[in-house]
């Protein structure tokens, strides 16, 4: 019996393995529980706007989504309902809710000890809903997007996507797709546009890094040039023109030549490294990716890519953080949608020297081309874009940049679809929004 009794250790070994395995589980639970619990499918945390128990407010405490009589209630102001729809989401679940997503991801209070029961039951967004309303009305019904964020803290103050609708009276789109026009898409986070001339900032940054004598080179613009059989037309006949003025005048001829000087490999690597044509991720949100592909491109294609056409695409939010990086001495600050929560520090996208020179040139753009008087009181650095989107269609108007002002550290992007001139149309929208922001 002694021997048999001793061999009962077999049962002890199994019990020990069970206990050790359980210990391992508890260890994983404590260390990885948060990432398990914040998986998007966890219906305790995310879920549809309708079933959500989270109250959402803007940075000034304005209610955007609250509970009333067991139902979800939006703001009383229709302008605020419409301008924040793509942040909050709709009642039918057609529109993704970035607010509930960042809530479930950051969940401010989750810890493995108390589980989701310690989650906050409200979320204060970094958005200024009043500013969103102003931005939406400034778009004057055009499709497009306006985004503004604080490039020091990463807080997004304005995120507007148009077209939009009042969540209390959703459009009936089941009949046809005609009225759709991407109304469910958050254009700021989930679209990619042809960048047009705003992309010259990227080409310029690459040139500053790569071409030693770029500031002393002279380019000759005769209104158009032909490369690999492709005719590249400029917006004017600029004659002999320097680098800085070429950016201010947005000279296609000069930038076509710069792109050719850089070559596909160098420009391609630079775009890849800065991530301008990629997507970014923050607080569980992922922006759409852009596009930059010079595979099999000839010299003409390369020139078009350097001036922001060809197959180039950028996501508005990603471009906005690139603007922020220029303002920040080259260092990227990722956005945050939660009030008081800083966005993560990103990478050093460009060198501080390059960033400084670009900033100067962007300030010069305003004084030399767009007119400082159009932006009264703002220390604005910007680049406009008028992106061709196919023959016959009115081009998209772009305006992107930042305020070089430590008291107002804001970067912005404005796109007004099929609206013509970038600096005039989009620039004026930017001014309206920034004036309101700086005054508040």
């Amino acid at each position: 019996m002694k021997k048999v009794a001793r061999r009962s250790a077999a049962a002890v070994i199994l019990a020990a393995v069970l206990t050790i395995g359980l210990g391992y589980f508890v260890f994983m639970y404590v260390t990885e529980g948060k990432s398990w619990a914040t998986y998007y499918a966890n219906s305790h945390l995310s879920g549809a706007v309708q079933s959500s128990t989270v109250d959402v407010y803007d940075r000034n405490g304005l209610p955007l989504l609250t509970a009333a009589d067991g139902k979800r209630a939006y703001s009383d102001d229709p302008g605020i309902r419409m301008s924040t729809l793509h942040t909050i989401g709709d009642l039918d679940g057609y529109i993704f809710s970035p607010a509930l997503k960042v809530f479930s991801e950051e969940l401010t209070g989750y810890n493995p000890f108390s589980g989701v029961s310690s989650r906050a039951d409200s979320l204060t967004l970094s958005l200024d809903a009043g500013l969103c309303k102003i931005a939406l009305s400034a778009l004057k019904g055009a499709a497009g997007t306006v985004g503004v964020y604080n490039y020091k803290t990463g807080e997004i103050l304005c995120m507007v996507s148009s077209p939009t609708y009042d969540p209390y009276s959703p459009p009936d789109l089941s009949e046809s797709e005609v009225g759709y026009e991407g109304v469910y898409v958050n254009r700021f986070l989930s679209s990619a546009y042809v960048p047009g001339s705003v992309f010259k900032l990227v080409t310029a940054a690459c040139a500053i890094d790569t071409i030693d004598d770029i500031f002393t080179q002279k380019f000759v613009c005769r209104g158009s040039l032909t490369l690999s059989g492709q005719k590249i037309v400029c917006n004017n006949v600029h004659g002999e023109i320097g680098f800085k003025t070429a950016l201010a005048k947005s000279c296609n001829a000069a930038f076509a030549e710069i792109a050719v000087q850089l070559g596909s490999d160098i420009l391609g690597d630079f775009v890849e490294d800065t991530g301008v044509c990629g997507g970014i991720g923050f607080q569980g949100l992922k922006t759409s990716s852009g596009n930059f592909d010079l595979n099999g491109a000839n010299t003409g294609d390369l020139a078009w890519a350097g001036i922001g056409q060809y197959t180039n695409l950028v996501n508005p939010c990603t471009l906005m953080t690139f603007m922020g990086a220029i303002a920040n001495g080259g260092e990227q600050r990722l956005p945050s949608l939660i009030a008081g929560m800083e966005g993560k520090k990103g990478e050093q996208l460009i060198s501080p020297v390059t960033a400084g020179l670009l900033k100067e040139m962007m300030a010069n753009n305003v004084t030399q081309s767009y007119g400082s008087s159009n932006f009264p009181g703002l220390k604005i650095c910007a680049k406009s874009g008028t992106a061709e989107v196919g023959s016959g269609a009115n081009p998209h108007a772009w305006f992107a940049g930042f305020l070089d002002d430590p008291n107002n550290p804001y970067a912005f992007v404005v796109i007004s679809e099929h609206s013509g001139s970038g600096s005039e149309v989009a620039g004026s929208i930017a001014n309206t929004v920034l004036q309101a922001l700086v005054k508040s």
Partner: protein, 562 residues
């Protein structure tokens, strides 16, 4: 509901959230404390008187006699073999002496014995040329043993009371969380559970037994299981309750049956036939559900025969010491195991096949003590598994998902990711019975029940549930030290090994520490066959519990039943 009622419900839920783990800890700690109480001096059944006047106490029902230091009765004379003979106490209180193929033989009544002879107190017998006698314990000793203070276990009535409070609080939690249409069923089931428990308690008290720790742990796990079933598949609650009552009946019946070792060992071959017959019926009539053909339909109810075979498998595998020492080979048992595991492979239930295999390893090791054999068997099994993966590619898919569930989070890793996600949502104290979301995932209250425990009951109680299984295994191994017969010791250890391994497959499978196999958590998972089989296996543990006045499944020792 008016505001005051809502407020009361909230207060109750908050209180219950913290009170339930405390209550659970109190119940289980009382059980654990009793289970690990120092064992009393083992029972003494007789003495072996050697030529030099040395009196060796006989402490088991089965004892090896020999020169080896590992012999139960060590007779250190050079002419005696290392393992020479086995002395077995028969059911009637008499003794049997068996020669275990010794070189120089065993002599009784002046003749070399062939196999086994009965032995009376005072009879002179010899191992080789060493003469000895078996003498009874004296009247004084008998009285002394009988008058030893009875070991006081944690008062079982109080433990049962605490468990009843636990059950009531659980039922209220469920009532608050569930829709009104469910409330009658929930109340009914929990009332019957509590009533069954108390009837059992008073019934066993009639037989003057006071050890209830093993059953309390089982009832505790059953309570958790009912709550998970109520939350995830309320329509199965009544069936589960009937299964629990039937399980308890099986437990009592089998426990009573095991009291008589002779009766038990005579039934071994019958068990073998029953096991194989069950598998034959399963293969012939079985229908497939969720990938394995392990169900048969009895018209009014569906059952999983393989669950019941577990009980018969252990019964056949266990062996008394005289057989174990004389018949060293495991040939028949290996054939039997091969048939069982083969049948499970045909059925396609590989999780259960693995459980049988582990029980086989434990039994084989306990019977032979040979690591070499075990290693050889494991190598053969590894080869078989390799073949299996080659020919059953869908099993290999499970292995592909293993440790990569987040890459397949919404496809083949769906169940595991949901388990982890909702387990983490529960925190240490849980969200409250009936308030979980994992409940809506397929197999939540069976294969994924550990996740439900974490989410609704909290990590603390989920851990307690697993630890209580481990504790039962530790207790069984301790009891083995005072074991009467190797039959009980092997059966109990094999049963606990099955429980442990099954719990591992369930808990670690659903949490991606092991590949997902889809087996039940003993007593907790929703499943009638599994519930009844778990109670059946627990009877082996009860039969090995030799603490005085503890187990109804073990006859009273020392002075008592002789």
């Amino acid at each position: 509901m008016d505001i005051f009622a809502v407020f009361l419900a909230d207060v109750y839920s908050t209180v219950a959230r913290y009170a339930l783990p405390v209550l659970a800890a109190a119940i289980l700690l009382r059980c654990f404390a009793s289970l690990i109480k120092p064992l009393r001096e083992p029972e003494i059944w007789a003495y072996l008187l050697l030529p030099d006047g040395q009196r060796i106490p006989v402490r088991h029902w089965e004892n090896t006699i020999g020169r080896a230091s590992s012999a139960d009765l060590r007779v250190d004379y050079s002419s005696v073999s290392r393992s020479h003979a086995v002395l077995t106490r028969s059911e009637s209180g008499g003794w049997l002496l068996s020669d275990t193929n010794s070189k120089s033989g065993v002599y009784a009544g002046g003749r070399r014995i062939d196999k086994t002879v009965p032995l009376r107190y005072g009879d002179v017998f010899a191992l080789a040329d060493v003469e000895m006698q078996l003498i009874p314990i004296s009247q004084a000793e008998r009285l002394e043993m009988a008058s030893r203070p009875q070991i006081v276990y944690a008062n079982p009535a109080l433990s049962f009371f605490l468990l009843t409070v636990f059950q009531i609080m659980t039922a209220v939690q469920l009532l608050l969380a569930a829709g009104e249409d469910r409330s009658v069923m929930i109340l009914l089931v929990f009332c019957i559970l509590a009533a069954t428990m108390w009837v059992y308690y008073f019934l066993i008290r009639l037989f003057d037994r006071t050890g209830f720790e093993v059953e309390i742990i089982a009832f505790f796990l059953v309570t958790l299981g009912f709550a998970c079933t109520a939350s995830s598949s309320p329509s199965a609650l009544l069936k589960q309750m009937v299964a629990a009552v039937m399980g308890l009946a099986v437990f009592i019946t089998l426990g009573w049956f095991l009291r008589n070792l002779n009766r038990a060992r005579k039934t071994r071959w019958l068990m073998c036939v029953i096991a194989l017959a069950l598998f034959a019926v399963n293969i012939a009539l079985g229908f497939t559900e969720y990938g394995s053909k392990n169900w048969i339909d009895l018209g009014f109810i569906t059952v999983q025969p393989s669950e019941f075979v577990k009980i018969a498998f252990i019964f056949f595998g266990a062996s008394t010491l005289d057989k174990l020492v004389t018949k060293r080979n495991l040939f028949t048992f290996i054939i039997f195991t091969a048939l069982c595991v083969g049948a499970l492979a045909v059925i396609g239930d590989f999780g259960t096949a693995a459980i049988f295999f582990v029980a086989f390893l434990v039994i084989a090791y306990m019977r032979s003590g040979s690591f070499a054999t075990i290693v050889l068997i494991c190598a053969a099994a590894a080869f078989a598994v390799a073949l299996l993966l080659r020919f059953k590619p869908y099993i290999a898919v499970r292995f592909q998902t293993w440790r990569h569930i987040w890459e397949y989070a919404d496809t083949s890793g769906y169940q595991q990711t949901r388990t982890l996600m909702y387990a983490a949502s529960g925190g240490f104290f849980g969200l409250g019975a009936g308030r979980g979301r994992l409940a809506n995932v397929f197999a939540a209250d069976t294969d994924l029940v550990f996740g439900m425990l974490c989410e609704e009951w909290g990590l603390l109680i989920a851990v307690m549930a697993v630890v209580s299984i481990a504790c039962l295994a530790m207790f069984t191994a301790r009891c083995a030290q005072n074991g009467r017969s190797s039959f009980f010791v092997i059966a109990a250890c094999a049963a606990m090994s099955m429980f442990c391994f099954q719990t591992m497959l369930n808990v670690f499978g659903s949490t991606d520490i092991l590949p997902m196999t889809g087996v039940t958590f003993p007593f907790v998972s929703n499943g009638g066959s599994s519930m009844i089989a778990s109670w059946g296996l627990l009877a082996y543990v009860k039969a090995a519990d030799t603490r005085p006045f503890a187990s109804f499944a073990a006859k009273q020792g020392g002075s008592g039943d002789i």
